[in-house]
C-alpha cells in the first residue's frame, strides 16, 4: 500500500494534473479550498468545519458522510453562506462557484445565487416549511422570486407543474393544503419542489430522508436522483448512512470532527477503505433485518470536543489501531493507489499495525470481505 503525501489536498478532488487521467472529469462547478467555519461560543471557538477541501463537478453527486456533529450541515450551510444572522461565525478559505469566490462575494450578490444557482433541501420537512402558509404560496413565491416576469397566475401554473414533477398526486388541490395536512414524504416532496423552483445548478440535500419512514426514504432518494439527471444538476447528498450514498453517489467524502478524513470515488472507497473511521462506519451499518436508517451509534465513544484543539488524529480516542504517533501528530491527507482516493491515517486499514490491533479487537476483519456484497444489496 503505497501512500505518498499529495501536498495539495485539492488535487485529490480534482482540477489539475490528475484530473486529465479520468475521462469523466470536467472543470469543477464547486471547488472548496481550505474552508474553515468556526462559531464563537462562550466555551471558545468551535471549529465545526476545519480546512475542508473538496470539489463537485457538473452533474456529479458527492456524498458527505459522517456521524452526528461531524460538521456536515455546517459545511453545506457555510458553502452557501447561510449561517443565520446574529451568530458569531468565522469563515475562511475559498469557495469557487462558477468562477466566483463565494467567501468574498458581498451578501447582496450571494443572495442572488441562493435558490437559482445553489439550493438546499433540509432534513426535517415539517420544520422546514412555514407552518402558517399554504404550500401553494410557498412554492409560487419562490417561482416568482426567480422568474419575476411571470404573472401570479402563470406562477401558480408553474407551481402546480413543479408539484406534479416531484410526484405529488392531485397537485392543484394540494396547493391549498398547509404543511401539517400532508404526510412526511409529501412534505419532503414539496421541499424538493421548492428547492428546484429556481433551477439550481447545485443542490445540497442535507439528510433529506433522515426524518422519514423507511419505505418513503427510497422514493425520495429516487426522486432526487431522477430530478438531478433531468435537470443536469450537481448534488451534494449529506447523510450519516453510508448505505444511502453507496448506490447513489459518484464520490464520497467522509467527515469526522470537522475534517474530511477520507475521500474517493464511491466504487474505490467501498473496494478499498483506508481510514479506520470509514471502516467503523461500514461495520456500524445495520444488517438487513434492521431498519436501514438506524442511527450510527454503534461506534463506541464520542467525537471530540471541537472547542478544544487536538494535536493528533481526531479519531485516536476511538480508533482500534491508535498508537502514540496518532496522538501526537495529525496525519496529513495522503493519496492511496487510486489518485482520486485520499485519506488521513498513519496506520490505514490493511497496514500491519491496523490489522494486528483490529484482529485483537473485534470482528472487523471477518466482515471486511463482505462489504461489497452488502453494498450491492442496499
Amino acid at each position: 500500500m503505497s501512500a505518498k503525501p499529495t501536498g495539495n489536498p485539492v488535487s485529490a478532488a480534482g482540477p489539475a494534473p490528475d484530473a486529465a487521467a479520468s475521462p469523466a472529469t470536467a472543470a469543477p462547478l464547486l471547488e472548496v479550498v481550505d474552508l474553515c467555519t468556526g462559531f464563537h461560543t462562550p466555551r471558545g471557538l468551535v471549529r465545526a468545519v476545519d480546512h475542508v477541501s473538496i470539489a463537485v463537478r457538473p452533474e456529479e453527486t458527492l456524498g458527505i458522510v459522517g456521524e452526528s456533529g461531524s460538521g456536515k450541515s455546517v459545511f453545506a450551510r457555510s458553502v452557501m453562506g447561510l449561517i443565520a444572522p446574529g451568530q458569531r461565525v468565522e469563515r475562511t478559505g475559498r469557495i469557487m462557484f462558477a468562477g466566483r469566490d463565494l467567501v468574498r462575494l458581498p451578501r447582496r450578490e450571494l443572495r442572488k445565487m441562493w435558490g437559482s444557482e445553489i439550493a438546499m433541501v433540509l432534513q426535517d420537512p415539517l420544520t422546514s416549511l412555514n407552518p402558517v402558509t399554504r404550500i401553494g404560496r410557498q412554492i409560487s413565491e419562490t417561482v416568482r422570486r426567480h422568474r419575476p416576469e411571470l404573472s401570479r397566475g402563470e406562477a401558480e401554473a408553474a407551481s402546480v407543474e413543479l408539484l406534479r414533477s416531484v410526484g405529488i398526486p392531485e397537485p392543484a388541490k394540494r396547493m391549498h393544503a398547509y404543511p401539517h395536512q400532508l404526510s412526511g414524504g409529501m412534505r419532503q416532496r414539496v421541499g424538493i419542489a421548492i428547492a428546484l423552483a429556481g433551477n439550481p445548478r447545485l443542490l445540497f440535500a442535507d439528510e433529506p430522508t433522515t426524518a422519514l419512514d423507511v419505505t418513503v426514504q427510497h422514493q425520495i432518494l429516487d426522486l432526487l436522483g431522477r430530478q438531478q439527471a433531468e435537470r443536469h444538476m450537481a448534488m451534494v447528498l449529506v447523510t450519516h448512512d453510508l448505505g444511502v450514498v453507496a448506490t447513489r453517489t459518484d464520490r464520497i467524502a467522509v467527515m469526522y470532527a470537522g475534517r474530511i478524513v477520507e475521500t474517493a470515488p464511491t466504487r474505490t472507497l467501498f473496494a478499498n477503505v483506508m481510514m479506520p473511521y470509514t471502516r467503523a462506519l461500514l461495520d456500524a451499518l445495520p444488517r438487513l433485518e434492521e431498519p436501514s436508517h438506524t442511527r450510527l451509534n454503534a461506534i463506541p465513544g464520542h467525537p471530540p470536543n471541537l472547542a478544544v484543539p487536538m494535536p493528533g488524529c481526531r479519531f485516536a480516542d476511538r480508533c482500534p489501531a491508535a498508537r502514540r504517533k496518532c496522538r501526537e501528530q495529525e496525519p496529513p491527507l495522503v493519496q492511496a493507489d487510486d489518485p482520486e482516493h485520499s485519506y488521513r491515517c498513519w496506520y490505514p486499514v490493511g497496514s500491519p499495525e491496523y490489522e494486528s490491533s483490529a484482529a485483537a479487537g473485534t470482528e472487523t476483519t471477518e466482515r471486511s470481505g463482505s462489504d461489497q456484497g452488502a453494498m450491492r444489496e442496499r
Binding site: 462559531f39 461560543t41 468551535v46 450551510r77 452557501m80 447561510l82 443565520a84 444572522p85 446574529g86 443572495r111 442572488k112 441562493w114 435558490g115 437559482s116 439550493a119 438546499m120 433540509l122 432534513q123 426535517d124 415539517l126 420544520t127 422546514s128 416549511l129 412555514n130 407552518p131 402558517v132 402558509t133 399554504r134 413565491e141 419562490t142 422570486r145 426567480h146 398526486p169 398547509y178 401539517h180 395536512q181 404526510s183 412526511g184 414524504g185 409529501m186 412534505r187 421541499g191 421548492i194 428547492a195 423552483a197 429556481g198 433522515t210 426524518a211 422519514l212 419512514d213 419505505t215 418513503v216 422514493q219
Partner: protein, 352 residues
C-alpha cells in the same frame, strides 16, 4: 449552542393505498366544521353570560354591605329624610337583592340602565356619550403602540445588537417602568407648553372636524401608548428572534427570498401569537385604566365616568359601566380566539 433536536416522529406511510382514507378524513373534517364553530360560539356566549352576571350581581350585592342605611351612607349626613326616602325607592332598597337584580337585568336588556342620582342623566345616555371617546382613545393607543413596537422589533431582528435594536430596547425598559401620567405631563410640557403644537387638554369630538379631533387625542394616546409599545416590542422581538432560528427561515433564505420577505412575510406571523394575546388583554384593560390620562387631559371617557361614579357612590352608573367593560373584555377575548384561528392554520384543524 442552539441546535434543534432531531425529530423522530415517524410520519404516516405514503403509498397509493394510504390516499383514500386521507381524502375521506378531509371530507369528514369539512363536514364537522359547522358544529365545531357552533360549539365555539356557544362556549363564548356562556363565558360572556357568566362574567356579566358575576360582575353586575356583585355591584347589586355591594349595596347591602354598606353600613347602616345604604341610602343614608350614600347621600351623607346632610341629606334630608325626603332625599333618603327617594333614593331608597330608586335603588329599591326595600326589596331583597335578587329582586333588585332581576329588575336591573330586565331594564338592562331593554337598554335602560336607570337614571343617575348624581347627574339626573339617564345612564344609557351617559355611556353612549362616553363610549365612543373611550373606544377612539383605546384604538389610537393600540395602533400607536403596535406601529412603534412592530417597527422597532422587526428592525431589531434584522440588525440584532445594532444601534436601533439597543436604543429601542433601552427605550422599552424606560417606557415600561414610567407611569402614564408622568409621560403625559412630560408630553404636555414639551408639545403643548413649550412648543405649543398641540392642545394641553380638552377633547374635541369628530363633529369639530377631523384635524381638531386628532389633535386633541394625540397627546393622551401617546402618553398611554409608550408603555404597551415597550412591552409589545420586547415580546415580539424575542419571539421573532426565536422564529428566525427555525428551519423554515433557513429554507426561505436558501430558496432566495429577500430579507424583507423573510422578516415580514415569513417570520412575523408565526411570531405574533403571544403579541396578539397580550394586545387583546390590554384592549379591555386600557378602557378601564385610562382614568388617569382621561383626567389629566380632561377627556370625557368611560374611565372618568367610572371614577366619578365611584367617588359619588353612584351605584346605578357603576353597575352599568362595569357591565359595559365586562362585555368589552369578553368580546375582545372572543375576537382574539378568532384571530388565532386566522393566524395559525394548525389551530383551525384542531377546532374542527
Amino acid at each position: 449552542m442552539a441546535r434543534l433536536g432531531k425529530s423522530v416522529a415517524v410520519p404516516p406511510e405514503e403509498s397509493a393505498k394510504a390516499q383514500p382514507p386521507a381524502r375521506r378524513r378531509q371530507r369528514a373534517r369539512r363536514r364537522r366544521r359547522a358544529p365545531g364553530w357552533l360549539e365555539f360560539m356557544l362556549k363564548r356566549l356562556a363565558h360572556l353570560t357568566l362574567v356579566l352576571v358575576g360582575v353586575t350581581f356583585l355591584v347589586s350585592v355591594m349595596l347591602d354591605f354598606l353600613p347602616g342605611d345604604p341610602a343614608r351612607a350614600i347621600l351623607g349626613e346632610d341629606a334630608s329624610a325626603e332625599q333618603v326616602a327617594r333614593l331608597r325607592a330608586t335603588l329599591k332598597l326595600d326589596e331583597p337583592v335578587w329582586v333588585r337584580y332581576a329588575d336591573w337585568v330586565t331594564g338592562a336588556l331593554q337598554g335602560d340602565f336607570g337614571t343617575s342620582y348624581r347627574t339626573a342623566q339617564p345612564v344609557t345616555e351617559a355611556i353612549l356619550q362616553r363610549l365612543p371617546v373611550s373606544i377612539q382613545l383605546m384604538v389610537f393607543v393600540q395602533v400607536l403602540a403596535l406601529v412603534m413596537a412592530l417597527a422597532a422589533a422587526i428592525y431589531g431582528v434584522y440588525r440584532p445588537r445594532g444601534l436601533v435594536d439597543r436604543v429601542s430596547t433601552g427605550w422599552a425598559f424606560a417606557a415600561i417602568s414610567t407611569p402614564h401620567f408622568v409621560v403625559g405631563l412630560f408630553l404636555v410640557f414639551v408639545f403643548a407648553v413649550h412648543l405649543g403644537w398641540l392642545p394641553a387638554s380638552g377633547y374635541r369630538p369628530l363633529g369639530d372636524g377631523l384635524a381638531a379631533n386628532l389633535q386633541s387625542i394625540l397627546l393622551p394616546a401617546l402618553a398611554m401608548s409608550l408603555e404597551p409599545a415597550g412591552v409589545y416590542q420586547r415580546l415580539l422581538r424575542n419571539d421573532m428572534q426565536v422564529t428566525m432560528r427555525e428551519d423554515f427561515i433557513l429554507a426561505a433564505q436558501a430558496k432566495g427570498m429577500s430579507s424583507a420577505n423573510i422578516l415580514i412575510r415569513q417570520a412575523l406571523r408565526p411570531s405574533s401569537f403571544s403579541l396578539v394575546t397580550l394586545a387583546g388583554i390590554n384592549t379591555a384593560r386600557l378602557i378601564g385604566s385610562a382614568v388617569v390620562v382621561e383626567t389629566l387631559f380632561a377627556i370625557p371617557g368611560l374611565g372618568r365616568l367610572l371614577v366619578d361614579s365611584i367617588t359619588a357612590r353612584d351605584f346605578v352608573t357603576i353597575q352599568a359601566v362595569v357591565a359595559v367593560i365586562a362585555v368589552a373584555y369578553v368580546l375582545v377575548n372572543a375576537a382574539i380566539d378568532l384571530l388565532y384561528v386566522l393566524l395559525d392554520p394548525r389551530v383551525r384543524s384542531e377546532h374542527s
